[in-house]
Each structure stands twice: as structure tokens, then as C-alpha cells.
Symmetry: C2
């Protein structure tokens, strides 16, 4: 029996725990919230991120520690890493929890990104516009997720306003990229240096949140797949990375621009539970424990749809053939990810039909009540 600690006890930790039990791996999660979704299937150390005694208790007897979200305070990560092997490392976390550090890592490795400039002070804005021009996206360097801490801006005046109303956080201004689609790659590297990658998947976001993933992404050119694999290899090696990593890309005219790095299992990889030979959750645990990685080969084709804000009629969803429901045990709340549904099929036509039926059920449920709730 192995015990792995996870910083964060949300749905990602919950699905890691569900993947761990059959492998003889128990999880212990560290999370300040009482109703952390992983608490139902893992031991839960409930404490604030700075609670040294709790960190001590959390680390006691662990075989390894990992994390489920990139905004873990770096001091907590370092305190854990001083007691138990943390994978990914605190350095890898530091490099990927800050959008500016991410961009600079990409530049160092010759990986193309959108043009960008940093904004620490109001005075930086004018110079930043010199580099991005036209239309841009202002993004907080840290703590952003699901589109929070981001604003599309069209002028230096706009940018100043957004920066001030957002709280004057250290930010990056990114050139607005007109892309054909968003793709992501989930890859893993083990303590032994073994690597594996799932196929590129196609993502659709709305209001900053992932709504749908198609796995594998349809019609990926061989050169694009090769470019993604090469970028992943470079980043994994450069960071001496251990665990699952996720790279988000924009696809534009047959090439990829790196948009974001998530040092963890990822929403766009949830399809792998049913849709691939080994799930991203199992592979993350295998990587962190130094076990051989499992096959990332897809089994047929899959679509993942997120359940956001409102629970649909889950009995109706279960009545559709070949669909798999995953609820996270969270109370419904506007803009909250409550679960997801994966449809797996042997061919694309069957899959498209399932998606249409599922979208009606999920979005039909979400729209009226979301509106009632108000912002």
C-alpha cells in the first residue's frame, strides 16, 4: 500500500483517488475547505496553506506528494518538498504558475507563443502596447483559472482601466491571436524519465471555461502532432518534470502557439478515463511513484462535456447509450464545474449524435436556472 499526498482536494484529487484505490494507492489531500470533493474518497487534512503543523501531519508517512492545482502557494510547496518528494517539483510549479515565467520558458526553448509584455506598473502599459498592438488580452500572472483574471482590451486606456479595476496585479499583456482552434496535449513523465503522451484533443471554451473536448482531435496534421510532441519533450526535460503536464495550444495556419502550461492532470484529459487504455489520473500516479506508464492509446473516439452551474437531469443522461457520468459531489453554483459526461464511440458519426443529444440535455438544463441565479 502506497500513500500519496495531494495539495488540493477538488475534483482532480477526487479522480486521482478513485484511480489510486485499485492500484493499492491511497491518497491524503490537503485542502482548507470543509467539503472538498476528494474528502469522500481520501483522507482529508483540512488546514490553511500556511499551517506548519498541518503540513507536518500531511507529510507524515507519505511515499510521494503532488498537487492538483497550480495556485498552491509556493511556500507550502517548498515546505512539503523539504519533507517528502514532491512531483512536480516546487521549481517546476514556480515556472508554470506564473504566466510570465511560462512565456519566458517558452522563449528560452524556442517555442512560439503570442507576443507579450509584462505589466508590473501603470507606466509599463504604453511600452507593452508597442509590442502587442491592435487588440490584446490582459492576464494576471498568477491565480487565474477558468478565464478569471483576464480581460480583452483594445487600447492602452482600456488596459489601464482593466488593470486598475482588476486589482493592479502583476500581469502580462498578450497579443490577441486569431486562431482556428484550441488544442491541448496531456503528457506524462515518470521519476525514471519515461514519457508518454495522449493524442492532441480539440477544446471549445465559452465564457473562459472548457465546455467540450473531442479526443482525439479530428484532422490533426502529422506535422502538428509532431510539433506538439516535440514541445512537450522539451518542456518536460527542461523542468525535469515528474507527473502529468498539460499544454494548451492555439492552432493557426498549420502550426501551434503555446498558450498555457498546467502542471497537473487537466479537464481536457478527463475523457481518458473511458476513452483511453490508461487514464491521465492513473498515469499521473504511476509517474509520481516511478512505476511504468500505461498506454495512452485511445479506445475509439470520445467527447467530454462539462456540467457547469446547474445539474441536468442525470437520469436522462444515463438513458443515453455509451455515456459516462462523473459528478464531483459539489453543490450547484453559477459558473462552478459540477461534473462531466464522457461519450465514447467506435466511430465519429455515432459520437456526433451522442454529443448533440448530450448538449441539449446539459445546456437545456443550465440556461434557464443560470439566468435566474443572476451574476
Amino acid at each position: 500500500m502506497k500513500c500519496v499526498g495531494v495539495l488540493g482536494g477538488g475534483q482532480l484529487a477526487r479522480m486521482l483517488a478513485l484511480a489510486g484505490h485499485p492500484l493499492g494507492v491511497r491518497l491524503r489531500v490537503f485542502d482548507p475547505t470543509a467539503d472538498a470533493p476528494a474528502g469522500a474518497v481520501a483522507e482529508h487534512v483540512r488546514a490553511d496553506w500556511g499551517d506548519a503543523g498541518a503540513i507536518e501531519r500531511f507529510c507524515d508517512g507519505l511515499d510521494a506528494a503532488t498537487l492538483e492545482f497550480e495556485s498552491v502557494p509556493i511556500a507550502t510547496a517548498r515546505a512539503v518538498a523539504a519533507r517528502v518528494r514532491l512531483a512536480p517539483s516546487a521549481d517546476a510549479l514556480a515556472a508554470t504558475q506564473d504566466r510570465l515565467a511560462e512565456k519566458e520558458l517558452a522563449r528560452r526553448l524556442g517555442i512560439e507563443t503570442a507576443g507579450y509584455a509584462k505589466i508590473d506598473r501603470a507606466e509599463d502599459i504604453a511600452a507593452a502596447w508597442g509590442r502587442t498592438g491592435g487588440r490584446a488580452v490582459l492576464k494576471q500572472r498568477t491565480m487565474g483559472y477558468d478565464g478569471r483574471g483576464q480581460a480583452v482590451v483594445a487600447s492602452p486606456q482600456d488596459t489601464l482601466l482593466a488593470w486598475e479595476s482588476g486589482g493592479r496585479y502583476p500581469s502580462v499583456l498578450e497579443k490577441f491571436v486569431t486562431f482556428e482552434r484550441e488544442l491541448s496535449l496531456v503528457a506524462a513523465r515518470s521519476t525514471a524519465g519515461e514519457t508518454a503522451a495522449y493524442p492532441l484533443v480539440e477544446n471549445v471554451h465559452r465564457e473562459g471555461m472548457l465546455r467540450r473536448t473531442l479526443a482525439p482531435a479530428p484532422g490533426v496534421q502529422a506535422e502538428v502532432a509532431a510539433q506538439a510532441a516535440s514541445i512537450a519533450e522539451h518542456i518536460l526535460r527542461e523542468l525535469d518534470y515528474v507527473g502529468v503536464i498539460t499544454l494548451e495550444f492555439f492552432e493557426k495556419e498549420g502550426r501551434l502557439l503555446l498558450n498555457e502550461i498546467a502542471p497537473r492532470v487537466h479537464n481536457s484529459g478527463h475523457w481518458s478515463i473511458e476513452g483511453s487504455q490508461t487514464s491521465q489520473f492513473e498515469n499521473h500516479l504511476r509517474a509520481v511513484l516511478g512505476w511504468p506508464l500505461g498506454s495512452t492509446r485511445p479506445v475509439g473516439c470520445s467527447a467530454l462535456l462539462n456540467i457547469i452551474g446547474t445539474l441536468p437531469d442525470t437520469t436522462g443522461i444515463l438513458g443515453l447509450p455509451d455515456t459516462h457520468l462523473h459528478l464531483y459531489g459539489k453543490e450547484p453554483r453559477r459558473g462552478r464545474k459540477l461534473g462531466h459526461v464522457t461519450a465514447r464511440a467506435d466511430d465519429r458519426t455515432t459520437l456526433e449524435n451522442r454529443i448533440r443529444a448530450l448538449e441539449q440535455m446539459i445546456e437545456g438544463a443550465a440556461t434557464p436556472r443560470d439566468t435566474e441565479g443572476g451574476p
Copy 2:
């Protein structure tokens, strides 16, 4: 969020719990043992089967109750059924936990079994031999599993000896059947009367314990599949059964003899976690809660191998492609089911190669230490 109670907290309850969490179903298990495998993933009411206060606590707030082994004391089942909907019902349990009742059910429905006679007293043995003749198997009517409480006998004298040394339990004497192979069928019926069945699978037992299942069973004739489906339909209807049921058959000259009925999810159905569109565990919960049943269609072909007595080198197993490890969190002990491995493949040839490699790893590990332990 639904809560389902399970009588018994072994590996079957554990796998039910793992299937339940993504569906928004939490399990509460009733089990007298401290280290019940399901305790890691479900609430555990630890008490003796006759503890009325504990039964009360166990039932409190449940949406439904079910069971994971057929030897649940019938009084406990009835006490639970008086408080919450029990599925399968106490009557269905009574009919399937007693080998004689099972045979009489089969006879009533015109389902062929091995010839049999009941033995309540020593004086019944001579008459029983008149009906079975030649060579027979003496089986306790209740509480037998994994070949316990069974003896192959060749004469009335043999039978008397076996019956007396076994503890003089009410038994059945069954005609020894020379069959070509053992097959089993896992089927489900929901509270709404919807039924579904997995394909017939082929089982290999050794020392009374299941060692290997091939799913689907290779080379099943259409008439045999139809016979199995028809038998299942009759039994499910006759018992007004709700939940997953498992029928074990002998195949002999193109027809099936019913050997045993298990009123529960079954070891020979574990392959369905990866090898079919919906696992037997998920379908049992769907059936018990009155939700639509999920597709029982296999995804490629699968083999299940049990890990018995000794843990093999699990890292080696994880290093084989397309294999899935399931450990139950139990301490190794001779003759104890500690886990299983499922290999899934898109074709039989690949599967055969995986099976050979797995058998070497699993049985290579088991042999020397099993012998050391001694009986």
C-alpha cells in the same frame, strides 16, 4: 446525492463504491470485520449481523439497500428490508442462498441442472445415490463459496464420511457432470423491470476458485447464447429480481446446465470495468436505484486473472501494455482473493499474448510462497 447500503464490505462492495462516486452515489457498508476492503471508500458500520441497533443505524437515510454476498443471514436481510427497499429482495436472497432452493427453482422453471437429491440426515444418503449414481459432488446447501463445503464422492460410504467430517450440514448430492467448459452470465434487472445481460464468459476454476475469465467466451453458438438469455429472463421474472444476478453454467454438447445462481455482482464480471461499455458495478447501482441500465456491449475482448494468496510483482504487471490492476487492499493469505488483473485488447491474438505473460507473473509469484505457507 444518493446513499445505498450494502450488506457486506468486501471487494465487491469496494468496487461498487468506486463505481458509485462518479454517479453521485455514496455507499454505506455493513460488515463485522475491522479491515473490510470497502471501508477505504465507503462509510463502514462495523457490527455483528444480529445487532439490531447497528441495523437501525445502517438503514437510517438510505435510498436503497443491497448485498454483496449471498450468505448474509436471512434475518438480517429481513430486518433491513423492513426499513428500506432491499434489492434483491429477502425472498430472492432466500431462494439463491440455498443450493436446494436453487435447484427447485430451476426444476419449477424447466431449467436443466445436474441430477440431485437432498441430504438432511445420514439415512438420506442411500436413496440419494439411487438418483445420482456413479460419481457425485456433496455440497452444503448454504454458506459455501470458492469450493468450500464441497467434496467429490464415489460411493455412499464416501458420502457418509464426507458428510460427517464436513459437519453434518444439510446438503445436496449432485451427479458429477462431465462438461466441456464453464460459462457464466451476468445480467441485471432494474426496479422498472428493464433487463440487460453481458455476453457469456468462459471461466476456468482451480481448487474451487476462479482463476481466469475470457470475455466474451470464444465460439459461443447462437443457440447457447439464446438459451442463457432465456434462462436469465425466466429467473429474473420469477424472483421479481432487482439488481445484478450471475448464473453459472456447465456447457455440455451444445446445451447449458445451470450450476449455480449468485444474487450479486460476480468475480466473472470484473472484466466489465474496462472491457464493456458499462461495468457490472455501475449497472447494479443503476438497477437498484431505478435508473436506466447502461450498455453491456463489450469493448474488444478481455481476460480477467485473479490474484490469489500472494501478491505478484505489481510493477511488472503495470509494465505490460493494456493491463489493468485491481487490488482490494487485503493482507496476503493463502487462498485469499487479493485482486485481479484485466487485460483488454482489440483482437484475440494480442489478448492471448497478454494472458501468457500475466499468468507467468501471477502464478510464478504464487507458487513458491503458497507452498511455504502450507495448508
